[in-house]
């Protein structure tokens, strides 16, 4: 408050707070107020740092104990002598599920955002926004139940159908594949779960695209798809990448739907359609309480790796989204 500062220099300092900006006043109640709200912030900050530090401490003790082997081995055999804690299979499984889910969520999410912003007429648009928000509120366990019980009816019949009529494509040939408890179905369901996030963020970003340029494109005889590819998508590129990263972070940590759907074998697999595979979150959820301290530490290391992955992803999405915000602000 430079204006008040210069004013203060001209009045005699009867009150030492006179002329200070409201945030700088030193009187009693306001100091207490500021101390209390700062304490709230510090509680949050300290709690978060404690959580991260504690987990890292426990997880890295497993790393010290069995070395890098724990990450590079794919054999999860905690009951063997000597026990072998290989997390590689589940790390790859988590990444596969997240990538598959992005294959579902990003095209459809961006498409839904375009539908809401550019194609749908007013009344439909409002209900579409509401429905996408509603999709975001459906609990993960309900998604899992649906994927396990309801979706599997259709995946079974589709698997049989593909094995009959699409034999010429190698991956569909195996008649024993039923897809029901596979990584593929997990990716599909988790993709639907992260879709609202991707759709909402990209819709927000796209709505800031310059309308005047779009209208100019239309006026020059361009098509709607023309201005979408030449104006809106280039403008929103960073935002869509940010949305994708956020979606990846959500997908890689998704627990309960994966636990319900997947038949965990905790092995390294490239078979996306068969009932094999595992994910870190799934491993922790199913094994944690019934395990020895050493297993516990190995699982915690898995958790730490998951945490680091989400931090990395959310940090980079932050950078990308800030760039987008600057671009939107510059206009």
């Amino acid at each position: 408050m430079t204006a008040t500062d210069s004013y203060a220099s001209r009045v005699p300092a009867l009150d030492r707070d006179l002329g200070r900006s409201p945030v700088q006043r030193r009187n009693g109640p306001d100091r207490i107020f500021r101390a209390v709200v700062l304490a709230g912030g510090l509680v949050l900050l300290g709690g978060s740092l404690f959580i991260v530090g504690f987990l890292c401490d426990r997880g890295f003790s497993a790393l010290r104990h069995s070395g890098l082997h724990i990450i590079t081995s794919a054999t999860w055999a905690p009951d063997a002598v000597p026990p072998n804690y290989g997390l590689l299979g589940d790390l790859v499984g988590s990444a596969l599920i997240a990538l598959l889910s992005l294959l579902v969520a990003v095209p459809i999410g961006v498409g839904t955002a375009l539908l809401i912003n550019e194609y749908a007429p007013g009344r439909i648009r409002r209900s579409l926004v509401g429905l996408v928000d509603l999709l975001a509120t459906v609990p993960g366990v309900v998604f899992g139940l649906w994927g396990l019980v309801a979706l599997s009816d259709h995946t079974d019949s589709t698997a049989a159908w593909l094995a009959t009529y699409a034999k010429f494509i190698p991956i569909f040939r195996d008649p024993d594949h039923r897809y029901g408890q596979s990584i593929f179905v997990c990716g599909l369901v988790v993709g639907i779960m992260v879709l609202p996030v991707v759709a909402s963020i990209s819709r927000d970003v796209m709505s800031q695209a310059p309308r005047d340029v779009c209208e100019a494109a239309l006026a020059l005889g361009g098509t709607r798809w023309g201005y979408i590819t030449d104006v809106i998508l280039p403008f929103a590129r960073s935002g869509i990448i940010g949305a994708t990263l956020i979606g990846f972070g959500r997908a890689i940590g998704e627990t309960i739907a994966v636990v319900l759907i997947l038949a965990p074998t905790n092995t390294l697999t490239h078979d996306l359609l068969g009932p094999v595979g595992g994910s870190i979150a799934d491993l922790i959820a199913t094994l944690f309480t019934s395990s020895s301290p050493a297993t516990e530490n190995a699982l915690t290391l898995g958790g730490v790796l998951l945490l680091l992955a989400t931090f990395l992803v959310s940090g980079s999405s932050r950078i990308v989204l800030n760039r987008q915000a600057r671009r939107a602000g510059a206009r």
Binding site: P29, V142, G253
Partner: protein
Amino acid sequence: MIGTTTSVERRNRTTSGDDMQVVRSSGRKPDRTQGVANLPEWARRRADLLLSMIVPAVVLVGVFAGVSISAPVGLVLCWLILFLTSYAVLSWRHEGVLAMKDRLATVAVWVGGIIALAPLLWILDVVFQRGVPVIAADFPHFLVSNLTQAGPSDPVTKAGVGNAIIGTLEECGLATVISVPIALLTAIYLDEASRGDETRAGRAHAHMAGLIRMIIDAMNGIPSIIAALVVYLVWVAPHGVNGYSGAAAAGALTIMMLPVVTRTFEENLRIVPGSLREASLALGAPQWRTMIGVIIPTARAGLISGAILGVARAVGETAPTLFTAHGNPALNVNPFHGAQGNLALDIYLLVFSPADNAVREAWGAAAVLVLLVGLLFAIARFIGTSSASRRSKRRRWAGSAAHRFQLGRQPHSSDTGGR
């Protein structure tokens, strides 16, 4: 932004024929198909669309009706491919390449929207079809009794999730009681600190606020299983068998709720117009009175709906309650001692339970859970939109996705600080 959108749309409606005209004249000439070319523009386009929808459908049903229609998904996919191909060819011959791309994109976007929302309708349909009969059979019984009264092969009418409902309400209530005050204080701090002035203390606070914001964003994305892991390692495991409790679950849920609620609160405080704050300060009100008497009342609706949305999210979380509340088939009203039920957790446990009717009971519990979450969601929206009529412009800021998913900082809508 909204104004310009509608103007583009209006333009599309009134001039869609004209802009296609330009495209077509630069593309292929339409006179190749004499019969269809005599139709007016709009009718030909409809004819293209309908033809390419109906013909593949008839062909597919003809081919597969004799063999099998066992997999509707596969048939629909085949139909979609045939439809897109024939529509592409027709519109390419009639209107040219650019128009073909536009037509295909329009179809693709609508199909994408349908694919996005079909699971929602499907899930709701399945949940209510299978869940409501379970609740309705012997009506309040399922909502008030618990699972201990039902043997493994007893019918669904013996079972109930009353214990789980009470557990969920207590755990989420506790989590709310812990997280809302901390979130409000932090949000106030972040808001005030980002309005600080260019003194050394002001800049230090701004940096501190940046750090806290960064941590909140990082914590906002943590996997829910990690929250359970932390509470288990810190609290439950050292206490052995007695470690499981509703309060432990509340702790894990707090870890999930706090970042979300804090960012929502901060966005809602930010959108309070600067003129109100300045008027209050100029009248001599101290900072704390301005906050409590002016800013919080103004932002009240947004704060309440943000808190309720946080609760709705906590109610639906399963993983944080996994090794904390642990699940309990019997009723345990005391959240501070002993394992406690939880609605979402019960669904998970029931699916893996060997009892005959467990999956049906799980659908009943899922229906209760969806209704509970939907109710909270509706209340939050109602509170949010009832104040929207008064402050429609500002609500658009608050309702943006960045705020809902706590991402990217938006610039101050009205900056009151001394900068």
